[in-house]
Amino acid sequence: MTTTQTIAPIAAIARPSAPPRGARAALEVARRALRKYFRTPGLSVMGVVQSALFLFSFRYVFGGAIQAGPSGYVNYLVPGYVATIVLFTGGGVAVAVAEDRAQGFTARLLSLPVPRYAIVAGRALADSATNAWSILVTAAFGFLFGFRLGGTVPGGLAALGLCLLYAVVFTVVFIVIGLFAPSVQAAQGLSLIAFVFAFISSTYVPAASMPGWLQPFSKYQPITPMVDAVRALILGSGSDVALALAWSALLLAVCTPIAVLRYRSA
């Protein structure tokens, strides 16, 4: 046996007097997720480029052929687009969660004396922040591509606030998708389900323009009232807001406990 080093100093590491408190641990978990996001150009830069590119295509490529909204398609499109952008960028959340499980990072976290809820809370905090960032950037592109507020500034801010709430809701939904995906690729694939909800809704075109057999799905799935509520707030009305909040609360109430419980088993 060859001993290459003397080791006393490892023993010199003091033992922490107590495990970290939940809030501190959650912030630590969130910080790592944010570092990963901003240090991986494929995530942070491409996410923004992609959302701008899609918006550009809808606005200038398809937009000319679509008749929707009383004040031009751009004013119809942008609120819906901003409200649902997380359905497109959120796949990254599911992939990140699945990756952490596949690569052992989740196991490492679970082997540490960290409260279980703090691991989910940290993840949700970081991903909600990046998704909120997507929303703000996308809204800015909306204005750049010709969107104008039809109503008051407070109405616009209320609409933006609702979009940010959706960012949190969709984040938790994508965390659950990532936790149940059997592999990283599957997480990517499962995230495409969100596209179905985004497209077959009033996000890009009015539901009334779809064939009759498609309308029930479009009308009764959560995205349509969520998008309609954002449009209403911009125009100073409150219609659909209660329904949108109810859907948000329901999705959170279902997905949060699932995420916390599922995170326990690495």
Partner: protein
């Protein structure tokens, strides 16, 4: 006062308790039984290797010790603390380094270590100190400021090892610490683990590389199909399988079968033939007398001898003798160390 006494007493209990104590430990995933009534007692102050073929339950056992899995039935205590009843106490006592290096590739080595230290409960300044010590001791100084995604396999594994150490764990759990590493990387990790053991850290490692157990551990538990089939100090284990081995190397492969037959005639046990190294070997109960006889017969048959001798059985042979046919494929693979298992 009374609380203090209790704390002291429970600390003493933890000191006196075995490192690991499993009784009837069973873990099932649906219909699959990964651990099937495992009984193990391992003392503190020893480096313990858990050996077994793939699918024997090694990783399940480590994950149960690390509180990532809950026992379906039976009991498991780590330093006297029950994993199901008191998982937080167990988590404070252990450091886990996995089969997959669980470090964040977009963060530097130092950032990774400090993050893990804070998650163990260290203050920011204590975390910096702990990280600095680990960087120094695991010779990561040159790369600590680089993102760990740029590390070599051995460096990444050492960083992973370091991350499990920053919380001053009393038990280091290493799940197949060198799987997928090249020989230089394995050597790096071995050196690091050896120096930790020398410094008094209790280590439990799983491996299917027999030479790894030989290098790092002084106490071995062999498990197969979720049960312990042998346990004890490495030397005892080799002795319990008994019999020394007569091994002969010949200059030409064509002579091997004849040499093997001679060994069989002398020892009355079936020979193992290794064509790659042109060696035949057989277990020998008769020791030196049989060796002399074998040399005589080989000379009579005009078979030239490159090398011949009586030796203790290798862990490969112990392993095969204990696990029987089922392990044969795995055992051979473990012996052929060039075949790395892909970490996917």
């Amino acid at each position: 006062m009374r609380l203090n006494e209790q704390v002291t007493r429970s600390a003493q209990a933890a000191q006196a308790a075995p490192l690991l104590e499993a009784s009837g430990l069973t873990v099932r995933f649906g219909k699959v039984t990964a651990l099937d009534g495992l009984d193990i007692t391992a003392p503190q102050g020893k480096a313990l290797a858990i050996l077994g073929p793939n699918g024997a339950g090694k990783t399940t056992f480590v994950r149960t010790v690390a509180t990532l899995l809950r026992p379906t039935s039976g009991r498991l205590r780590v330093r006297g603390r029950d994993v199901a009843a008191d998982p937080v106490a167990v988590r404070r006592d252990i450091g886990l380094a996995g089969q997959f290096a669980a470090v964040e590739p977009t963060m530097t080595g130092r950032e990774n270590l400090e993050m893990t230290a804070r998650l163990f409960g260290h203050s920011s300044s204590a975390a910096r100190r702990a990280a600095a010590i680990v960087i120094e001791q695991l010779s990561l100084g040159e790369v600590a400021g680089r993102r760990s995604g740029t590390y070599s396999g051995g460096q990444r594994r050492r960083l992973d090892l370091g991350a499990s150490l920053v919380g001053a764990p009393r038990l280091l759990l290493l799940d197949e610490p060198t799987t997928g590493l090249d020989p230089a990387g394995r050597r790096e990790v071995w050196d690091a683990v050896r120096s930790l053991v020398a410094g008094g850290t209790d280590v439990v490692l799983t491996t299917h590389y027999l030479d790894e157990a030989n290098e790092l551990a002084d106490h071995v538990i062999v498990i197969d199909r979720g049960r312990a089939i042998a346990s004890g100090p490495l030397g005892d284990l080799k002795a319990s399988v008994g019999h020394d081995v007569i091994e002969v190397a010949v200059p030409d492969v064509s002579l091997l079968d004849a040499a093997g037959q001679i060994l069989q005639r002398v020892t009355s046990s079936p020979p193992r033939i290794d064509r790659g190294s042109r060696r035949a070997s057989a277990r020998s109960a008769g020791g030196a007398g049989e060796l002399r006889a074998a040399i005589g017969f080989l000379e009579d048959a005009a078979i030239p001898i490159d090398e011949i001798g009586l030796r203790r059985p290798t862990l490969d042979e112990v392993f095969l003798a204990l696990t029987g046919d089922r392990a044969a494929g795995t055992g051979d693979r473990a012996a052929g160390r060039s075949q790395d298992r892909s970490p996917q």
